[in-house]
């Protein structure tokens, strides 16, 4: 029961008060991790080619998690119990090639790994999906799932009667008054109450309404490539890093033009629907984000981003000046080098979004360093 200042004035000051204690249960313990793995290491061609491959399965058992998803009547969240299990299947591959050809030495390395994690036990019997802001876990859920709607273009003038209501047979969105230029969604399922109408059904795994899993935010097929080549005193090396497959829902101010009542526009957001621009990328926007503004920004296939990327983490170029000119200067060795960090990033994300953090924040610094090492 943490103390804090009350939001009430009593005799001229705010008295201290206490927070409501949550539910706790006494008998919880550490989680257990069990890992099973197998692998091969090989080295052939006089170890010029080495490779190792690992495959593993990891069970995390008895994780602390809400014992169940409580209805609001309980007045608080369910206490934590050792109630959740998850299973990760993954593999790792590393390959290296190093060789010499005449005065050249060179090498190339590759590593690649991937894993999928699935919840195998969680107390969410109805498999409730939660909200975009706070997703619920459920048994069988793959970590990173993105639930959303399937975009089906815009509403057009032909979809409406003269009085502004939707024509028979045109899909409607529950609780939303749609207009020309608003985003239209595909009707994936009809319920008893929901014929040709977009809604989230019971918002459970078994009845998600017109939502489906449209992507996964887990970074898949992480890879790194490094290499070097050296000839006499000159050396060049590089490190690349990337993710081959990842979906991201960005949303919010950086994604949508005039995303909220007090939001602005960015240069990349100007292709929104207007009567003169019906072939736009974004749907119609509304003053003060009113009307169907929010419905146009739901998580959906159209605005799902491809977050795969390749980043040049480091390039180093160096030159060691041969011994004989410098020995006259009484120096043992002199090496000049250039090193660049984070020089290039190849990504399809909106400019400014860092593909590693997926945030719009202080970017990774690009560093250029030049140097001389002198040995006396």
């Amino acid at each position: 029961m943490a103390p804090y200042d009350a939001l009430w004035i009593y005799t001229g000051v705010t008295p201290k008060t206490l927070r409501t204690p949550g539910m706790v249960r006494a008998n919880y313990t550490w989680e257990k991790v069990r890992t099973l793995n197998g692998g091969v290491d090989i080295g052939i061609l006089q170890n010029r080619l080495t490779a190792s491959f690992d495959i593993y399965k990891r069970l995390t058992l008895g994780m602390l998690a809400p014992g169940m998803d409580f209805p609001a009547v309980a007045g608080t969240d369910a206490p934590y119990q050792n109630a959740a299990d998850l299973k990760t299947n993954g593999w790792e591959l590393t390959m290296n090639w190093t060789d010499k050809a005449g005065e050249f030495t060179y090498g190339l390395g590759l590593n690649l790994y991937d894993a999928k994690t699935v919840i195998t036990k969680y107390r969410n019997d109805v498999k409730e999906l939660g909200t975009p802001a706070k997703r619920s876990f459920y048994e069988g859920m793959q970590i990173g799932e993105i639930w959303g709607y399937v975009t089906d273009g815009f509403y057009t003038a032909g979809d409406f009667n003269e009085d502004g209501t939707l024509k028979e047979g045109v899909v409607s969105i529950n609780g939303v008054i749609s207009h020309e230029g608003d985003i239209k969604y595909k009707n994936l399922r009809d319920g008893t109450n929901s014929v040709n109408r977009i809604d989230n059904g019971q918002n459970t795994f078994t009845d998600p309404g017109d939502q489906k899993i449209i992507g996964n935010a887990t970074a898949r097929y992480n890879y790194g490539i490094n290499g070097f080549i050296a000839w006499k005193g000159i050396g060049l090396s590089f490190i690349l890093q990337g993710v081959a497959k990842r979906d991201a829902w960005i949303g919010g101010d950086i994604m949508f033009p005039h995303a909220g009542q007090f939001s602005t526009f960015y240069a990349h957001q100007l292709d929104y629907w207007t009567p003169a621009n019906t072939d736009a990328y974004y749907g119609r926007i509304y003053q003060n984000a009113q009307e169907s503004h929010g419905a146009n920004q739901r998580i959906q296939t159209r605005f799902l981003q491809n977050a795969a990327y390749l980043r040049v983490k480091n390039i180093t170029l160096s030159y060691s000046i041969p011994a004989h000119p410098i020995s006259k200067l009484n120096l043992k060795n002199v090496k000049v080098f250039y090193s660049g960090e984070n020089l290039f990033t190849f990504s399809k994300l909106i400019r400014g979004i860092d593909p590693e953090s997926l945030g719009w924040e202080y970017p990774h610094a690009v560093t250029n360093s030049f140097g001389i090492n002198i040995g006396l």
């Binding site: 029961m1 943490a2 103390p3 009350a6 939001l7 009430w8 004035i9 009593y10 005799t11 001229g12 000051v13 705010t14 008295p15 201290k16 008060t17 206490l18 927070r19 409501t20 204690p21 539910m23 249960r25 014992g67 998803d69 409580f70 209805p71 609001a72 009547v73 309980a74 007045g75 608080t76 369910a78 206490p79 109805v126 409730e128 009085d163 502004g164 209501t165 529950n174 609780g175 939303v176 008054i177 809604d199 989230n200 019971q202 918002n203 459970t204 003053q287 003060n288 009113q290 009307e291």
Partner: protein, 603 residues
Amino acid sequence: MKKFKLYILSFLLLGASCSDKFLDELPADAFTEGTAFISYDNFKTYSWSLYEIFSDPSHLQRIAGDITALPEGDVEANYLYNSNGRNRWAWQTVTAETPPAGWNFAYIRKVNIMLRNIDRSAMTEPEKEHWRAVGLFFRSFHYMELLSKYGDVPWLEDVVEEDQTDVIYGPRTPRDEVAANILRDLQFAENKIKPGGDGDNTINKNCVLALISRFGLREGTWRKYHGLPDSERYLKECERASALLMTAFPTVAADFQHRWSTEDLRTYPGMILFKEYASNVIMQPFSRSERGGSNKIEMHARTIERYLCSDGKPIGTSIRYEGAATMNDEFRNRDYRLLYRIIPPYKVNRVPGGNVLWTYTNNPADREYIDLMNSLDPTGLRPFPVLTWQPFTIDRIPHITGATGSLAPMSNNCGYYFYMCYNTGTDVLSGGSFATTDIPIFHIEEVLLNYAEAIYELGKFSQPIADQTINKLRPRAHVANMIVAAIGDDFDPNRDPEVPPVLWEIRRERMAELMGEGFGFDDIRRWKRAGYFINAQPLGVRMPKAGTPAALKWVTTGADAGRCYRIDDPLAQAKGWKDYYYLYPIPLTETVLNDKLKQNTGW
């Protein structure tokens, strides 16, 4: 060997001293339930967190957010409206998937935690009863909100524990039982609370009575108009509690306008409880946001027409009414409470070289309401022409957003600008939340109107009752007294024909007196007349079209020809209030988690 024996011995000792309890330590640096509820002052400390219910985001009436939140109940009722949005009920955008806030029991648990620790505390019996009374007052306050929105709601007499699955996954408790429990708890609180509470603006006996007055009327009329039994029992409680308060607070403040714009409401007669604000302690955002660019709460023509004229008659029969051809005419000889909620019309010339300086125009009509409003408030703190927070002088009312020469702050879309906290003496300059005028929670004027309405519903309304209640409110509103005998079928030709003439007048008075305080939506629902109010298209002022923004639409035919509007007529688009809206939908997520929780009919 000797050493070895010693080891064995010490192991044995260790084993003996280790029981399970040995490791159970209460934290010494933090409060737990075991240590936070011992003394009277402990309970007082915890009780301050209960006062947050007056700002609870799940309540329709709440002191939170900005100026647009305070009147939300009246916006939902379409007495007022937000011209940037649409009424969610009229436009049928409420669903069980996107339900209005409300299904929230965390607060009930908060109170019940306090209640369950009373018995084992070290307090005397009267002290225990006092804190039980305070707890029950607050619990009732939240249950009233739940009852009003959902009808049947789970009744939680005690803290719900994890293993009580029959409660957590249980059905709702019938409305009759919930209402009876609320009344039982409030009566206990009335009898056992320390009459003066804990001093200085805390929950005391009068606060409990004010809540009984509110609840008795709300539940009594709900039962009467929704065909449930027992309405008299609740109406009589309203009558009883209101009468006690009318004795305790015999004086109605002479200045209506100051109720929502006074630095210290202790000085305001008839104030029972208020939220206090003080510089550098807790300050409020309302005064500033009311005078900024974000306030798009407006009144509309149908509501304005319901205000009386100064002779105490409605516009349909008053000889003082001068029509609505211009906004000046429309506001002349009307209930002053209209002028204190909607900025009346005027025009001045701006003087170049500053944002504040102005001069009168050559047209005397342009200064009519400047002179009136300045004469009504001799403090000089509510000056006309009105000043925005910056301050800029607003040179015209109506002051339309985007019209030629208009400013962004204190402008709106259709002309009837809602204001309530106007006081240039409080700090709106230092930042968003620096104002310190207090906000009322319970005041005697509401109680008088509760009393008048309850008495009418009990069939006992008369001229003396009108004199004790409504006619105490009229002089300061510049409206002639109510003469009950004069109110017949033809008193107001614009009356809702479903409502008897005198009752219509009592409800009208309630609307005018409490406008902006957020009672509207509860009122029209308990009267079962929501459709009448909600389905009206909100229409703006008549004014010259030149210079107004192109987005503004205009009525071209009929009695309202010449009025501007932004929002279409919901009925013309086959929308509008539905009978099952009287109870809110239970959020879909809740009915999915608990199949014993049956959805309200229709949703």
